[in-house]
């Protein structure tokens, strides 16, 4: 047996796990080979050291640590409701406060939206409107009587030298809606001519007149009033102007119905607007004596009077001194009070 082979078998030799023959061969080699015997002795002493290592005592915290870890594992997961409500003295008040805040927030938002939620939509309102409600939503007219240029013109700014606030036209609104809102707001602003006859008497005349594009109208007599044509000039009336120019128009009784609408249509066609809150002067024995107040560009005053003369007679005594303007271009705005008298 050579040294390499003998040394490779040393471990098993010392463990006594070699077969007897090999055990004897290694033993014989060790007796003859001093270096291998030295290696064997060194290995033997190493094993003695290893086997003589003291066992040692585990620290006492080992068992404690094991117990802690096991206890941590055995703790059942906290149920959701406990996480939600415990500790009760802290979480329940906090959650209650959060719930109240959330309720207030939702309620506040809902309350703001409430009027819109309960108010009927224009289309539905039109369906339910009585026959005398002659205004229809403008979108219904869009396909029949295209008026975008007119509408756009009405929304355009007034001439540059008159930067005044104005109100946007709301084509979707019905006359009833607008009247309702006008009442609730206490506003006497300018609206369409169509609603003039049905509004209560005016007590104030201080509100600014703002041009509004009238929707398609039907007179109380069932006569259809065409909206202002696209060719009509844009309204330039946008600031409060007193209705100091008075005109009286006399009409026969059979022509009386719907006269307000025709006057209003003429004013709007000429770029003017109609006072939203008509002032009824009173009712005489033969019929209504009504007043229609309009604003017009000064250069439309004459055409307006011409239109009125087509609708009825304009007696000279019914005209105030300033009713007829002098000719010539003007950027002024004039206010007319048209009194209707039935012959």
């Amino acid at each position: 047996m050579d040294c390499e082979r003998g040394q490779n078998l040393l471990s098993e030799f010392l463990d006594g796990s070699l077969p007897e023959s090999e055990q004897a061969s290694v033993n014989a080699h060790l007796r003859e080979c001093l270096p291998c015997r030295a290696v064997k002795e060194g290995l033997e002493e190493t094993l003695l050291l290893l086997r003589g290592l003291p066992q040692g005592k585990a620290p006492t915290e080992l068992l404690d640590g094991v117990r802690r870890r096991i206890a941590r594992e055995e703790v059942p997961p906290t149920p959701f409701w406990k996480k939600l409500f415990l500790p009760a003295h802290i979480k329940i008040p906090l959650e209650a406060a959060a719930a109240i805040l959330l309720f207030l927030l939702v309620y506040g938002t809902w309350k703001e939206e409430l009027p819109n939620l309960f108010s009927p939509r224009p289309a539905a309102r039109m369906d339910a409107a009585p026959a005398k409600e002659f205004t229809k939503p403008a979108e219904h007219d869009a396909s029949k009587a295209p008026s975008p240029p007119r509408a756009q013109a009405a929304e355009e700014a007034v001439p540059g030298d008159r930067p005044v606030p104005r109100e946007k036209a709301e084509p979707g609104r019905t006359a009833q809606n607008e009247r309702d809102s006008g009442r609730s707001a206490g506003s006497a602003g300018t609206r369409t001519a169509a609603r003039v006859p049905s509004l209560p008497p005016a007590s104030s005349r201080s509100q600014p007149s703002l041009p509004v594009i009238p929707a398609q109208r039907v007179s109380t007599a069932g006569e259809r009033i065409e909206p202002p044509s696209a060719a009509a000039p844009p309204s330039r009336v946008a600031r409060p102007v007193p209705f100091g120019r008075e005109v009286t128009i006399e009409v026969a009784a059979q022509n009386r119905p719907g006269l307000e609408e025709r006057i209003a249509a003429a004013a709007v066609r000429l770029g003017g607007s109609v006072q939203d809150e008509p002032a009824k002067a009173g009712i005489d024995s033969e019929g209504a004596v009504d007043i229609v107040r309009v604003h017009l560009p000064a250069d439309s005053a004459r055409p307006f009077l011409a239109e009125l003369s087509k609708l009825g007679i304009l007696p000279a005594e019914g005209m105030s001194d300033r009713a007829v303007l002098t000719a010539g271009p003007s950027s002024e705005v004039v206010g007319y009070t048209v009194r209707i008298r039935v012959r």
Binding site: Q7, N8, L10, S11, E12, D15, S17, V39, G42, L43, E45, T46, L47, L48, L49, L50, R51, G52, L53, P54, Q55, G56, K57, A58, P59, E61, L62, L63, G65, V66, R67, R69, I70, E73
Partner: protein, 196 residues
């Protein structure tokens, strides 16, 4: 090695008690094995804190899995096997260990400082082995052995398992256990040569 014939071992009784849900049974199992497990971990890891941590993990793992323990081996063998796996995993996690490990087999140049023995007047090694200081020296020497061989060394020469038991625990052939164990012993002898 724990086998002692047909009569049940005390540990087996503890195991039965644990399975019957008797209070304190698992504590008794821990107490019965903690010194051995801790010593093994300590020698594998050369670090007391880490050894304590791993030993606790071993018993925690045992607590979780004792229900499925089929007693094909002694409980101690099973625990040491868990300990060996945990220690090897921990060692592999150490990035700094590679520089300290011994590269063997034979003839390889040492790239680590020579083992510094204690003063020669401390006497013969067989007496020194009983000395705590010598035990520390030996454990430090063990720490220089490749971990995959170290645990074979500990199981065989410290814990007294047979080749077959070690092969079963390590999942390697008996011949491989023998050769690797021999190389580990020779490497340790080299390290301890100035002492022994």
């Amino acid at each position: 090695m724990d086998s002692n014939g047909g009569s049940p071992r005390p540990v087996d009784l503890l195991l039965q008690a644990f399975r019957q849900g008797k209070p304190g049974a698992f504590d008794a199992i821990v107490l019965a094995h903690q010194d051995r497990v801790y010593a093994f971990c300590s020698r594998m890891l050369s670090d007391r804190e880490e050894a304590l941590d791993i030993a606790q993990e071993v018993f925690l793992s045992a607590y979780r899995n004792l229900g499925g323990f089929r007693e094909e081996a002694a409980l101690a063998t099973w625990l040491l096997r868990i300990a060996a796996n945990r220690c090897l995993n921990r060692i592999r996690q150490r990035s700094s260990l590679a520089a300290r490990e011994v590269v063997f087999p034979d003839g390889a140049e040492r790239d680590y400082p020579l083992f510094q023995p204690p003063a020669p007047e401390e006497g013969r090694p067989d007496r020194i082995a009983e000395n705590r200081e010598m035990a520390k020296i030996l454990e430090r020497a063990l720490g220089r052995i490749d971990p995959d061989s170290r645990w074979l060394l500990l199981l065989s020469d410290v814990e007294g398992f047979t080749y077959e038991e070690i092969a079963a625990m390590a999942g390697i052939p008996v011949g491989t256990v023998k050769s690797r164990l021999h190389r580990a012993r020779m490497a340790l002898r080299k390290i301890l040569a100035p002492v022994v």
